[in-house]
């Protein structure tokens, strides 16, 4: 079963072909980071305009690299939310055009489910139930995956997403946009014990996150230091920030595993590329007897292979969307089968 995936929820335009929900035949991504960098963040109108221009060549390239024709496709899977509405709309409308032209079924995919399904592309054996942490510039949420397509939200951020905090701290420090990679690189050269921050823990009895206070604490500390430090002092500051942010993510993820009794966790999304998060998560999971799966960095960032993977699962479960499918800026992942459906 071959599925074409299309992703355009934020500032990456992507297309991919995946076989049987697990094997990537092609995956092409155009990152718009350079277009947005000058503005210190994603400009929705720039994103939408770029998607419109990049979707045709990327889809053509994805099919060519996979060495297939459209007639081989079982369905077209497209991100329908959550994300920037203009960006999503462009991808959804484009996918509808292809679907009508090729008489090929359309499957709308939740971007967050795509991040969880990314794990399946490198670990074909992984099956629910498992704990899923989706952590990126736009999302920080913990889920219990009961089955593919059936998720309980266990906790999410009350304010900033973790990646947003990385971007804001980088901006305050004059490190440009996006901030995740540069903060990680500099923090690796610093000592987190030199400039400590309290791990952001909004309550001990829940699985929620909060990163706004941590960001404010960093800004306050910079003020106390008489301005943004340079050299090793900056590295220590960033190491302390990164350690606190990553520590909170690890603690809540492992708590979720303990509470639910699940022994597998999938950690995905752009922030899952962070080296300190990986280090702390793997160490903590080892002690707790939890298997943690991080997709490789290319599959943690936004891509269309993960959308094709999630679309494959949905298609196999009988999901078909119509040409009237709407894009949705807000699209919760939680799904509970209707009572009496036999699945509850």
């Amino acid at each position: 079963m071959l599925v074409l995936g299309i992703e355009s929820s934020c500032d990456e335009t992507a297309a991919a072909v995946v076989r049987d929900g697990r094997e990537i035949l092609s995956s092409v991504v155009h990152s718009q980071v350079r277009e947005h960098a000058a503005f210190g963040g994603v400009v929705p109108e720039i994103a939408a305009r770029n998607h419109l221009m990049w979707l045709p060549p990327l889809v053509r390239e994805a099919l060519a690299r996979a060495k297939i024709s459209h007639g081989d496709l079982a369905c077209i899977a497209v991100t329908r939310g959550p994300g920037l509405i203009g960006a999503l709309l462009t991808g959804v409308q484009f996918a509808k055009g292809l679907s009508l032209a090729w008489n090929c079924p359309l499957v709308g995919v939740n971007h967050l489910e795509g991040h969880l399904a990314a794990a399946r592309l490198e670990h074909p054996d992984i099956e629910p139930p498992f704990i899923g942490l989706v952590v990126s510039g736009g999302h920080t949420s913990l889920y219990r995956a009961r089955e593919w397509g059936e998720y309980d939200l266990l906790g999410s951020t009350r304010d900033d997403a973790a990646g947003e905090a990385f971007d804001k701290v980088a901006k305050v420090c004059g490190l440009g946009y996006p901030g995740g990679a540069v903060v990680d690189r500099l923090a690796r050269q610093g000592d987190p014990a030199r400039v400590k921050f309290r791990r952001p823990m909004p309550g001990k009895d829940n699985l929620e996150f909060s990163f706004s206070g941590l960001k404010t604490a960093v800004i306050t500390r910079i003020g106390e230091m008489g301005g943004v430090p340079a050299g090793d002092e900056l590295n220590h500051l960033l190491a302390g920030f990164q350690d606190a942010a990553a520590g909170a993510l690890v603690k809540k993820t492992l708590a979720a595993a303990r509470i639910t009794g699940l022994k597998t966790a999938v950690v995905s999304g752009g922030v899952a590329c962070n080296s300190r998060l990986r280090e702390l998560m793997l160490a903590g999971a080892d002690k707790s007897g939890v298997r943690v799966i991080f997709p490789s960095p290319a599959l943690c960032a936004d891509n269309a292979a993960m959308i094709a993977a999630a679309g494959s699962i949905a298609f196999e479960r009988g999901r078909r969307d119509t040409l009237s499918m709407a894009a949705a800026a807000r699209l919760p992942l939680e799904y509970r089968p209707a009572a009496g459906s036999g699945l509850a």
């Binding site: 419109l52 045709p56 060549p57 462009t90 484009f94 509808k96 055009g97 292809l98 009508l100 040409l323």
Partner: protein, 232 residues
């Protein structure tokens, strides 16, 4: 690209106009008849457009692969509306490997004004640009034919005269922008033709001319006329 129709006169063309809230589709069949479908009030263009296109084709016993070309209203207009049309049209054109022909949306305003036999030789088509502005395009008549003068522009309504090439009272104005700002334009001295919106059916004739001349861009390069910077 699919083979050109034996004669342009037999070309089957689907047109989409989404630059304003009055969204429409038109299908030109091989016999030259134009079949239309207008978006009902209250419907969302992004949910209505694709199934309506499918129904319009099916209603004439046609499948998407029977199409020889697509035409799309290129704006200027509402960004979201233009993306709804362009996103769908680019997917359909790529999938079918047929030309996507971009036609300026104000051309439809001019076509309708000409059909109504307006007096005078100067027309400015105006589309509501929101944020207190209009998008405009000047046209002038030579004999029975109308021609575009210069390119599209964005203007504050009360400074429209700066974009006209002769005194305002020598101009007629039509389009959604003329309707929204009618008081201002009457005060400037323009004669107004109310209730005119871009229609998909008016894209067909210029699209056939472009198809015959091979005057269209590759689908990858097709892009609406935004006029505004994305960060304005």
């Amino acid at each position: 690209m699919t083979a050109r129709p034996a004669a342009i006169s037999r070309a089957i063309v689907l047109a989409l106009e989404t630059a304003t809230p009055v969204v429409s589709l038109a299908l030109r069949t091989a016999d030259g008849v134009i079949h239309e479908n207008m978006q009902p009030p209250g419907a969302q263009a992004s949910e209505w457009l694709a199934p309506a296109a499918q129904l319009l084709l099916a209603g004439q016993g046609l499948k998407p692969r029977d199409l020889h070309a697509l035409a799309v209203g290129a704006g200027p207009g509402a960004f979201t509306g233009l993306r709804v049309g362009y996103g769908f049209a680019k997917g359909l054109a790529l999938g079918l490997e047929i030309p996507l022909i971009e036609i300026p949306s104000p051309l439809s305003i001019m076509t309708q004004a000409a059909e109504q036999g307006i007096p005078g030789v100067r027309l400015v088509a105006l589309l509501d640009a929101r944020r207190g502005e209009v998008y405009g395009q000047r046209y002038h008549r030579e004999g029975a034919r109308w021609f575009a003068s210069g390119g599209p522009f964005a203007a504050k309504p009360d400074s429209l005269a700066e974009h006209l090439t002769s005194p305002a009272d020598q101009w007629m104005a039509a389009g959604s922008g003329a309707d929204v700002w009618s008081d201002v334009f009457r005060r400037l001295g323009l004669v107004l033709l109310p209730g005119v919106f871009p229609r998909a059916r008016d894209l067909i004739a210029p699209a056939l001319e472009s198809l015959a001349a091979g005057a269209f861009r590759p689908v990858d390069q097709c892009e609406p006329v935004y006029l505004r910077s994305p960060v304005d």
